[in-house]
């Protein structure tokens, strides 16, 4: 005996996007902060972006060689 019937009222293009967004948010919550920390650590050892007060500088690896 089937007590409950659940029906989908047509699939829309945004539905798959919503599902993938949920998965992405969970991954971001799970690994986002540690990925950010690793990037900051990497930037400190091989500076690509650095800042001083209000100024932001971009450094390229090639500039060091010159």
């Amino acid at each position: 005996m089937k007590i409950l019937t659940i029906l989908s009222n047509g699939i829309k293009e945004t539905d798959s996007l919503i599902i993938f967004s949920c998965l992405a948010i969970t991954l971001l919550i799970a690994f986002g902060y540690s990925a950010y920390q690793k990037l900051v650590k990497l930037n400190q050892s091989h500076p690509i972006i650095s800042w001083d007060e209000d100024d932001v500088y971009m450094t390229f690896e090639d500039e060091d060689d010159i």
């Binding site: 409950l4 659940i6 989908s8 539905d15 798959s16 599902i19 969970t26």
Partner: protein, 266 residues
């Protein structure tokens, strides 16, 4: 006015005081771990009896009130302990019950009992990643029990992994309100469970969706409230029942929001 201090009374008072403080903390911890009021009463009375004292326990929704009497019922000490917000833990629950028997059988002193009590509380819990996997497997098994196919089980497994992780992260690590955490967790799990409809996975996407939020059902508060009802602890029964109903409402709200977002009708 001259104060007269009787050294024997002072010792007796200090003993009563330390016994009452230990027992009230013990009772509050047991309650936070998910023990029934009947078990708390039995354990506390067993310990109090071992120290030649009598005890009466009153459990309120947020506090435990306890009065310890000496054997002659001439001197008492009362304490009101706040129940700490604590995740349910049946391992601690079992260990604390064992402690009450150890005190009774081995005649432990209060200092020894307190030391063992703190050791028991500091024991590490199960690995959270293992718990996450086990919860996901359990919920996928629920799906199978309701005649879901293997595709539906896989969908429920992934949905539960996501939903449960969000709940734990929001509630335990970020200290969000448990109701908001439950709503968002139910919403996430139900939206991911809708992938059965969206991507045509398996033949029972309806069962996947319906069982995807079952891991949020507060079974222990419901069961404990019935136990309290049977044994006449009506205040505690109502408190646990209302808490369980609030959680059920929150998970239902999350599920309904997901159904609205994904255009699914019942």
């Amino acid at each position: 006015m001259k104060m007269i201090s009787d050294p024997t009374t002072a010792v007796s008072h200090n003993q009563l005081k330390s016994t009452a403080l230990f027992l009230s903390e013990y009772a509050a911890t047991l309650l936070a771990c998910g023990a029934t009021t009947l078990r708390i009463e039995k354990n506390v009375e067993r310990i109090a009896g071992s120290y030649q004292t009598h005890v009466s326990v009153t459990v309120f929704p947020l506090h435990v009130m306890l009065t310890v009497w000496d054997t002659s019922h001439t001197h008492s000490y009362s304490n009101c302990e706040k129940i700490k917000a604590h995740a349910l833990n049946f391992e601690t629950n079992t260990q604390l019950s064992k402690l009450s028997w150890m005190i009774h059988d081995q005649r432990l002193t209060l200092e020894e009992a307190e030391s063992i009590y703190h050791q028991m509380l500091s024991m590490p819990r199960l690995n959270p990643w293992l718990v996450l996997l086990l919860v996901a497997f359990a919920n996928a098994s629920f799906c199978r029990l309701f005649n879901g196919d293997y595709a539906a089980m896989a969908v429920v497994f992934v949905a539960t992994l996501n939903g449960y992780y969000i709940k734990v992260k929001l509630q335990n690590d970020w200290h969000w309100d448990f109701r908001i955490a439950t709503i968002l967790s139910g919403l996430t799990a139900a939206i991911i469970a809708c992938s059965g409809f969206v991507f045509s996975l398996g033949k029972t996407p309806d069962i996947a969706l319906a069982t995807s939020v079952l891991f949020l059902v507060p079974g222990i508060p419901f069961i404990n409230s019935v136990s309290d009802l049977i044994h006449g602890h009506y205040i505690c029964c109502m408190s646990r029942f209302i808490q369980a109903v609030i959680l059920t409402f929150c998970l239902s709200l999350g599920l309904c929001l997901a159904l609205l977002i994904m255009h699914i009708t019942i």
